[in-house]
Symmetry: C2
Subunit: 403 residues, 2 copies
């Protein structure tokens, strides 16, 4: 197992606190000895193991006795029959990442990242985040008995940070812009041995790639045709693609899917680059969307996403906030799943794609529902109707007779 | 399988829309043919089956092809090593019901109840609830394609109902008191074939008893010594006790645990009756606690809870809101689990009991953490500190050097 830059192939110490290539400014990646593993692994290897992320221990970079786990992963892949019927899709699947310990997919990466930090005897773990990542990291740090440190912009509403703060994270509110805050965090990291677990950190990516392994096993060790992923920094879609590629190289699946990158219109720098055929991403000046979990205007894994879209014959598209809210309600009303706006963006994208020639009726399609609707209850109120008000059994009778 | 009154043993039609004995005013219960099942079941029966609630299909009253499921149950039983160390308990376990589809234990009962409603071709499912039960029922009704109807008091804040409304439930706000609203619901139920899935409905109880089966299997088919359950209507602690008793009668476990009923001081009618040795519960005039999920001042299963506390050599105690909030933070900081105030009440109770002679250091203790902290973010903000504010790398340096 080695830590490499995917561009220059330069190697870094696997125990390094730095995770971007200083030459290419690309996130480093963990490379497993796939040739060797290929001889040892087959679908049968995993049979009978507990249904959580660590089922695939051979391709995870943490030893069994060093795991910090809250039983992440092993999430359901729902067959979306009622939603599929509405959209004219026969094989629509919903990967329900809301079922992770803190309510989002981030827990997979936090588990691996915090485990690594504990193994390295880091002084603390840290990140810059006001959302799912901070909450997730805080929970795993608590479980590990490790300090955790979260940098946020000043003025962040305290309600957004409750899930993080209650686990004992130290919150540091920084007056200033995000890029400066991010840089500060990275500098403090090496000096104070604070292990950063950002979205493109290699050990986080290792945890998150397991979403791909689970999807394929849940489909009987078949890869889907299309996988739709809400995209912000680009860390998660990159992780899924890494998982699918690895499985293909390991001979566990016969093909890789085509990846679909979904962004909110108000924060869609990767979609813009994809549309104009560029191989670099020009940051948006600011983000303007209700989908807070996909609102990074300067995606640190942007180039990596453009490469994987090319490699996977993929697609990128954006959806409006209105489309997102309607999709959020649609998936709740048809499948009983209450997901956050970022997750609903994949359903909104699917509504569009199902009408186009990009996706066919018989395609095996997976939407990755990354986080729980309980994370942001306020935005969901916008499209809801008021209750009917009654004062007597007779009025109830009237309502019931009419509806 | 029969539907019986536990007091007069009178039998009702298993397909009835009524679930209380009209003679004794007690909730009816499903009785399985345990003698027959005993010959067929052993711990090995369940080996290798998927790890969710339906693993125990033989003792669930719904056929496989009639299941409305979002993959409920199969929740983790965390070994609370760090919390246990703080409290001086060596074998403390936390049953993490926050991991269910809508974030609470209610999903087990909703799955069974809504499945039954679908089998009976009910016109709708319904309940009176402003909390976890409504949200859970709404999700399962959506999955089933069944209408759902929720009665709430007028003036209920819409934020509390978002998770319910987004799944398409019809909300009816009733001007009037809870008992009157409850009665209205029951009357409408039989007339309009609306299947009610309240907390003490027999089919809900069947789903929720599975918490007990899972705990015992997770402990290697051993029952714990003590089980602490947050208690409101009394439906859930009754369900757990039914599960433990059944397993004992089936020969799956060698003993039953002692049950501990935990209530919030501001809404503790069962604790009051237990303390004065009564066998009926005198309702509280009103409820006054932040723990909304355990705030029913007139528990419909109150007498049943008093009976089970006697039968299990159990205990009942109340905790203050301040103790609940401190316990909520304690379990988050030590175990990384963010639970709602009702769930934290069991930890608060444990803090007290661990200092007394009721629980010994070596006792095998389980706290049932019934729902996610994301259900009520506001109450958790009360004990949190403000972030540290900085404006430069130098100030960050100062903070890091000092902490």
């Amino acid at each position: 197992m080695r830590l490499l830059c995917p561009i220059c192939q330069g190697e870094r110490d696997i125990d390094s606190f730095v995770y971007r290539c200083d030459k290419c400014d690309e996130p480093l990646e963990v490379q497993h000895d796939l040739e060797n593993l290929k001889e040892r692994l087959s679908p049968r290897t995993f049979e009978g193991r507990p249904w959580n992320m660590w089922r695939y221990s051979e391709i995870l970079p943490v030893d069994a006795d060093g795991r910090i786990s809250l039983q992440e992963g092993g999430t359901p892949l729902h067959w979306g029959t009622r939603l599929g019927e509405k959209l004219g899709l026969e094989r629509l699947y919903l990967k329900d990442e809301t079922r992770n310990p803190t309510g989002s997919f981030k827990d997979r990466g936090s588990s691996v990242g915090v485990s690594k930090a504990a193994q390295l005897r880091a002084n603390a773990v840290g990140c810059v985040s006001t959302g799912n990542m901070a909450a997730s990291m805080a929970a795993y740090a608590a479980k590990a008995g490790l300090r955790s440190l979260v940098l946020i912009p000043t003025g962040t509403p305290v309600e957004k940070m409750v899930q993080t703060m209650i686990c004992g994270s130290a919150l540091i509110a920084v007056r200033g812009e995000y890029p400066e805050t991010y840089r500060m965090g990275l500098e403090a990291s090496t000096k104070h041995r604070i292990y950063m677990v950002h979205s493109d950190a290699p050990f986080r990516v290792e945890g998150q790639k397991i979403i791909a392994y689970e999807i394929s096993e849940q489909l009987g060790w078949n890869s889907p045709d299309r996988v739709l992923v809400p995209t912000s920094s680009g860390g998660n879609i990159s992780a899924l693609w890494k998982g699918f590629k690895e499985m293909h190289q390991l001979g566990l699946v016969s093909h890789v899917p085509s990846m679909v990158c979904v962004q909110a219109e108000g924060c869609s720098p990767i979609v813009a680059s994809f549309g104009s055929g560029k191989d670099t991403v020009h940051p948006f000046a600011k983000s303007d969307t209700i989908a807070q979990s996909i609102s990074n205007p300067d995606p640190p894994s942007g180039r990596r996403v453009l490469r994987l879209l090319k490699d996977s014959k993929g697609h990128a598209l954006s959806v409006t906030d209105q489309e997102i809210l309607e999709a959020q309600r649609l998936v709740a009303e048809t499948e009983g799943l209450f997901v956050e706006p970022a997750s609903a963006s994949t359903i909104a994208a699917l509504v569009k794609l199902a009408k186009s020639s990009v996706i066919r009726r018989s395609d095996k399609v997976v939407c990755v529902l990354t986080g729980s609707g309980l994370k942001d209850v306020k935005s969901a109120t916008r499209l809801l109707k008021k209750p009917i008000e009654i004062g007597s059994a007779r009025e109830l009778e009237n309502v019931l007779s009419q509806t």
